[in-house]
């Protein structure tokens, strides 16, 4: 698989940097 393939598949999902930060806080259990 190439990065191009992955980016093409990822384009179907809308996410922002804030979404990513919130999801990582949830994964790491440090929502504060």
């Amino acid at each position: 698989v190439t990065w191009d393939d992955l980016y093409e598949r990822a384009a179907a999902f809308e996410a922002s940097e804030d979404d990513v930060s919130a999801a990582l806080n949830a994964v790491r259990g440090d929502d504060d």
């Binding site: 992955l6 999801a23 990582l24 994964v27």
Partner: protein
Amino acid sequence: MTEPTPARVVADADVLAADLLVGGPSRAALDHLRRHSWTTLVASDALLDDAEAVIDRLAAPSLAAGWRDRVDEWREPVDHPDGDHPGLASAYRGGAMHLLSFDDRLTSAKAGASLQGHVSLSVRHPRAFAALFDPASLYREVVGGEYPGPDRDPRE
């Protein structure tokens, strides 16, 4: 422990996931590394686990699994004790001098000052890293000689 060099970089899990799902500064920052085979992306399994979990939550498990396969081929693995912050521990155990993160608890001047006392580590938002990356100067420092230009396709 690996001797620190400025060509060794850790992207925390937020930046790795944003490279895939958002693009923008995270992709621009990591493209600098993908374009140059003499740079190294350092990441522990725990760091990649976190990024994969973020991608799984925001997108789909199949995309997360495909991303994991690709990034596993690229990164240089590093071990650290369970419970350490995966980004910081990957950086200081893996000899990275740059840690890319959105987390202002890590990128704040205060955190930077306290980290500098222990390790030669610069914690930056990927936007700053992307803007300041100077491949010619870095090449002279870590490889030596005239910078030959990018040597890898960042989309492969």
